[in-house]
């Protein structure tokens, strides 16, 4: 029986764990959150799906019955160990055998329980987080990512503000607006940077790649969101973006401008909107550090296009390591479910030509190309730099401004990410470049035209999470496998 460990309990991870169980494997699924579901099915621990009862849940969640079915499959199986509150902080090798190191307990508690696992097969489904481009004032309280607005709505029944603007780029903006409206926020508008022509071209290309049957359903989904906006009279404006935020200690107003095809602001189109919250997201950054720690090769796509390389069975370049979901490409929950099911089945020792594997592959083909095409249609265009002035904060943790960053780059003529980080401090704070890294890389390499020469991988973080000294000192050298009730000890 193969010992499979799945990291991440969003759609990809849940599907992988379930499929691995179907394949007969022994499964441990880990997530740092207190409950299963990841971001897509984020909900209040102890509450029923989201807050506000079933009606609220229906507005807030998508495909909830699928989640509860997956959760049931996992909790019902004697071969499945679910560990929530589990932060994987490092992956290393002990004589060729991969080891995962976990801190289990409440988030950032000073003395969590330290464990090590040695999987025979590892499925990484660590997901993604919003990538938000900087603009003046984005560091004001009240400016949050789209993901934060949605998490607060789904998990806490809380609107991040009373008068909220949603902005950025990507199909994700629509569900964010819907979540906000569902918890009682007044959504003043949704501002999508991409312009109609780019979107129409991208969407029809995506539809061409995808299978027949996808397009109507996905469009219907988005039309449903859009429809709700229209019914709720939430304006959805293409080719516009937030170029500044202002307020005294908290957000009070923003400037929205028309954007041209390169996302540069069009002079004379600025409007000021009074608001107390802004949810902004320009796409997603995959969470790659565990895949890198496990030795997985990445695709070479420049600052906005690096993902874990996988084959047609979701195998990474590292034997025994599989990847599924957003870390293999931003494709949304449908693609993640199929990728996870395939990865979990193969990782669990399932036959590659089994009907379940073939169905999963069909799902991958059907959903992946369409979703990725859609995402690409909303891709970042270089004119966003025109939103910046010298004082605009680029690295939030260390408060490094655009002027400081570019000034140091010029003064040093550096071609090394390490030297630029250590001279400017960009990326050296607690988030370790998760928020600013893609932006800094784009700015300093000219969107990849002049790559860094020191071989430093921006997403490489051997310590994948903050761990206290006392926890490190007592974490075990040898991995433990707690004996499950169903397991019989070796004779």
């Amino acid at each position: 029986m193969t010992r499979v460990v799945v990291v991440g309990a969003g759609p990809a991870g849940l599907a992988a764990a379930s499929a691995a169980l179907d394949a007969g494997a022994d499964v441990t699924i880990l997530d740092a959150a207190p409950v299963l579901g990841g971001q897509f099915w984020r909900h209040r621990p102890g509450g029923s799906a989201g807050s506000g009862g079933d009606a609220g849940q229906a507005r807030l969640q998508h495909g909830w019955p699928r989640f509860t079915a997956l959760r049931r499959a996992l909790t019902a199986s004697a071969r499945c160990r679910i560990v929530t509150g589990a932060q994987v902080w490092a992956i290393d090798k002990d004589g060729g055998q991969m080891r995962l190191h976990l801190a289990v307990g409440e988030a950032d508690h000073p003395s969590r329980s330290m464990e090590s696992l040695q999987p025979q097969a590892l499925v990484l489904a660590t997901g993604a987080h919003d990538h938000t481009l900087p603009f003046p004032g984005w560091d004001l309280p009240g400016v949050v990512t789209g993901g934060a607005a949605q998490a607060l709505a789904k998990a806490e029944g809380l609107a991040v503000g009373e008068r909220v603007v949603v902005a950025g780029a990507g199909p994700f903006l629509l569900p964010v607006a819907a979540s906000l409206a569902a918890v009682g926020a007044r959504v003043l508008g949704v501002h999508e940077a991409s312009r109609p022509r780019a979107l129409a071209a991208g969407w029809s290309r995506a539809a061409g790649w995808g299978q027949a049957g996808i397009m109507p359903r996905k469009l219907g989904e988005l039309a449903g969101y859009a429809g709700r906006q229209l019914r709720g009279r939430i304006p959805y404006r293409l080719g516009t973006g937030v170029v500044a935020a202002r307020g005294d200690g908290r957000l009070e107003e923003i400037t929205v401008a028309g954007l041209d095809g390169s996302w540069a602001p069009v002079p004379g189109t600025e409007r000021v909107i009074a608001c107390d919250a802004l949810a902004v997201s320009h796409g997603f950054t995959p969470r790659l550090e565990l895949a890198i720690a496990a030795g997985c090769a990445l695709t070479a796509g420049g600052p906005f296009g690096r993902f874990v390389t996988v084959d047609a069975d979701q195998r990474t370049s590292e034997p025994g390591v599989y990847a599924a979901g957003e870390i293999t490409g931003i494709g949304g929950a449908d693609a993640a479910l199929s990728e996870g099911a395939l990865a979990g089945w193969i990782a669990g020792g399932g036959a590659p030509d089994d009907p379940r594997a073939r169905a999963a592959r069909r799902g991958v083909t059907r959903y992946q190309a369409f979703s990725r095409g859609l995402t690409a249609a909303h891709g970042i265009r270089p004119g966003w730099r025109r939103w910046l002035n010298d004082a605009t904060v680029i690295c939030r943790c260390e408060e490094v401004s655009y002027g400081a960053l570019t000034g140091a780059a010029t003064a040093t003529a550096s071609r090394g990410l390490r030297s630029l980080k250590l001279v400017t401090r960009a990326g050296l704070g607690p988030c370790q470049g998760r928020i600013c890294g893609r932006t800094v890389e784009a700015l300093l390499t000219g969107d990849g035209a002049r790559p860094f020469l020191d071989g430093v991988l921006p997403d490489r973080r051997p310590m994948a999470a903050l761990v206290r000294f006392a926890e490190l000192a007592q974490s075990p050298i040898r991995p433990q496998s707690p004996i499950q009730p169903h397991e019989r000890p070796e004779p």
């Binding site: 000073p110 140091a408 090394g416 050296l428 071989g455 206290r468 000294f469």
Partner: protein, 402 residues
């Protein structure tokens, strides 16, 4: 593409940067070549130690004492050397003569520490034995179970990557050409077969003198240029905390650090070194292990460092490790850097092999190299650092036979 200059420096780490600054400072034309980027090797992966406290009496201490004098002047000199725009855009090197406190944490360690300090005092080091109560006054959060302490007011700390970039900027302002992403692929020879420069993938660079300042890779470069240098890598790992209230005021380290530095043992050795940075984080080290150029995460080293550090500063138990990094110290068999001309290849020079002391020693190294190259009288005795010295001759012969 052919470039001609007086001197080529291979390596844009702290040694190469200091040499580039020193040589352009006496009017020589300099080309610096690095296989990657500035400070992308050892110089970007250490702590920024500028110490006398960890050096026993001998040539390395002499070099360190001379270097300390030069470090005290560096910021002011850079202010004059850097163009206004560069000076405004570059942060300061964070050089701070904060003083070092070496503590013995066991009864056995006290006497050796005090003996060591006495020897250093005889060699002119300001090494003050202080009672545990005074150590606690200097560092209120120190473990009160300290058995002995020596305070070294001359010890300093710097941010080495900023220092590298600032010195390179100064050299660039004086005409140095600096090329990144250009590994040396071989020697450029003149018609008589003598060294006349180097080749890279992009072309040839001709110069009368070539200086190898390539740290742990100095041996590889020496071999490409027709010689040999027995420098080997010794891995070290550092922990960085998240920003915290300022509670560590000096460089504080365990008395067993000196033993670890001097040991030739290949197995993992850890010894506590702790200091705050200007950014508010705390750097915690240190480890030594010979494992070639393997840079895989070494959790055994990380755990030992964390455990030992909390014995010196118990409050660190709750501190968060934000990141871990590591580097390769360039280590010579006799624990002394090599500074001077290659005895067999005219025109080839070395400034390499500084082990864990390169940051502190870089300025006196550059000065010595400059003086040897220009025929000026050197400020320190060059003999102990000569590439031809007996201490490494055997290793060199063994390298040739291999």
């Amino acid at each position: 593409m052919d470039t001609n200059s007086d001197v080529i420096i291979v390596g844009a780490g702290i040694i190469g940067a200091a040499c580039a600054r020193a040589l352009t400072g006496v009017g020589l034309s300099v080309t610096v070549l690095d296989s990657a980027a500035a400070a992308s090797g050892t110089s970007g992966q250490g702590e920024g130690n500028v110490l006398v406290s960890d050096k026993e009496p001998g040539p390395e201490l002499v070099l360190a004492q001379r270097s300390l004098v030069l470090w005290e002047r560096l910021e002011a000199e850079l202010d004059a050397e850097l163009p206004a725009a560069a000076r405004a855009a570059l942060p300061t090197t964070e050089y701070e003569r904060k003083g070092g406190l070496v503590v013995a944490t066991s009864a056995d360690a006290a006497a050796p520490l005090l003996d060591f300090a006495a020897g250093q005092r005889a060699a002119g080091v300001d090494a003050r034995v202080i009672p545990p109560a005074e150590a606690l006054r200097l560092e209120p959060d120190l473990n009160p179970a300290v058995t002995a302490g020596v305070y070294y007011p001359e010890d300093a700390q710097v941010q080495p990557v900023i220092a590298v970039e600032a010195m390179l900027a100064a050299a660039r302002a004086r005409g140095a050409v600096i090329r990144y992403g250009e590994p040396v692929t071989g020697a450029l020879s003149d018609r008589s077969g003598a060294l006349a420069g180097v080749r890279t993938a992009r072309g040839s660079y001709s110069a009368g003198q070539v200086i190898v300042a390539a740290g742990p890779w100095a041996g590889e470069v020496a071999a490409l240029l027709g010689s040999a240098l027995p420098v080997r890598p010794r891995r070290g790992v550092m922990l960085v905390t998240s920003r915290m209230p300022h509670r560590v005021f000096h460089k504080v380290y365990d008395a067993d650090y000196v033993g670890a530095v001097g040991s030739g043992d290949a197995a993992l050795q850890t010894s506590t070194v702790i200091e705050s940075t200007a950014g508010g984080t705390v750097l915690v080290g240190s480890s030594r292990r010979q494992q070639g150029f393997d840079s895989a995460l070494d959790l055994a080293a990380v755990r030992e460092i964390a455990a030992k550090a909390t014995r010196v500063f118990p409050f660190l138990a709750q501190a968060s490790v934000m990141r871990v990094y590591g580097g390769f110290r360039p280590f010579m068999p006799d624990h002394l850097p090599v500074i001077g001309p290659d005895p067999r290849v005219p025109g080839l020079w070395y400034a390499a092999g500084h082990e864990g002391a390169g940051i502190g020693l870089c300025l006196a190294t550059a000065e010595l190299l400059r003086d040897l190259l220009t025929g000026a009288g050197p400020a320190v005795d060059p003999a102990p650092f000569a590439p031809a010295r007996p201490g490494i001759a055997a290793a060199l012969r063994a390298g040739e036979a291999a």
